[in-house]
Subunit: 135 residues, 4 copies
């Protein structure tokens, strides 16, 4: 399962653009982290909302994939993000989780933290839906 | 107004990373487009959901900014994206719009299109909330 | 198609509780209205957010049903509402629309208006997903 | 604090319509339950999505109110619900929680359970935003 997810992740060029990597794969849960690169910011110099979205959505998607049969992968049907605090610091880390697995829909969530001087701040929460697609 | 938005946009390094540019600024509406770069994709080779989110959220945010006094800018409080079709092709274009201006909250939407062989496909819709912040 | 939707609507006891009725059924679009009853309010005396949600979600669901084969109906997978203004007045009216039909998911939206002294105010917008279920 | 919330709740006629009551008030968290009345159903006889929304949104709103100064109350700015399972049984119970308090926005969540034959099923999750308003 871990190999499958690592392999899929390595084909997501967007994750490479953000310098993201997978920290943990468990059944129903995946942790992804990425530096807050110079090229990932909004006009005030903090992380762009889209970085939190990209990492949270991807971690949530892979948490769903941990529960999929081998002939299926997942795509995002919809996702909603609430931004709780500016994404300041060096690193972002997100945990994606399956809230409700299903044959046709998988409901997922993610929490996104920014890490500055070894202090974690919850910067975003996501709640969304993944849909299985044949490989 | 247009100058203000162009100047703010130029400080969003995430937009430079995606090769995005502003196509149109009107009161309450902003159009942004970007190529679907090699580095903006998911594991199947189409645009990552986060690209649609990034462009849609940014266009929606700047549509709100067109209505703000000069001593305020906006941040995303929350945004929800529904993905309607895979983001195939060369280009993505999005129109952000203000649905409801307000002193404390600005409700916005965005439609995101992918353009392949001169054919536009609606690939995502967003509905969200921007919040004014002092500059 | 109209008969099918009217018949299904008549079995929704929640719609009877709210005094709701169908005003229009077209392919991909349904209009529902309801009085703002004494029993549908929040603590300040205006319509409860759940009334706007109930009407908008139901109109959006039936707009999806207009496109379904006869052996399927729909259920709400998810829906998001932004409240734009307090629901004041005598009546609420909502138009539900299909944004993107699909075999597995139908993406929908709704606009909800409150009507006071013959003046319409847009009070809520919804964006959501319906899923087909066998009857 | 509990008295303040009970008093506000008693003025929500929508909650009376649904037969809802407050089970618990704690700082940052409120539990509400309601029978699944004959008048709260959709066309298949299970609870209408709007019942889960109404209870979850209200519990989330009151969880925010537990953190408000006495001269402010809250209104829903936006809320998103994912339906996880049909609402079958006799009773619905929801816990609303504050995810992130703030002076201008309070980000909240709620989990909604249906109870049938003493067995709880998670039927919906909500994630939304409350906004303070002067009383």
């Amino acid at each position: 399962m871990e190999q499958r997810i690592t392999e899929s992740f390595s084909r997501q060029s967007m994750m490479a653009t953000f310098g993201a990597k997978i920290d943990l794969v468990e059944e129903g849960s995946v942790i992804i982290s990425a530096p807050i690169l110079e090229g990932s910011r909004q006009q005030q110099g903090v992380a762009h909302a889209a970085l939190a979205f990209a990492l949270g959505d991807t971690a949530a998607g892979y948490s769903a994939l941990t529960l999929m049969p081998e002939d299926q992968e997942v795509m995002t049907a919809e996702n909603k993000i609430n931004l709780l605090a500016p994404g300041r610091g060096d690193l972002m880390r997100t945990t994606g989780r399956v809230l409700k697995p299903g044959r046709r829909l998988i409901v997922v969530s993610a929490e996104v933290y920014a890490i500055e001087d070894n202090r974690e701040t919850l910067v975003a929460v996501l709640q969304g839906t993944m849909i299985p697609v044949p490989i």
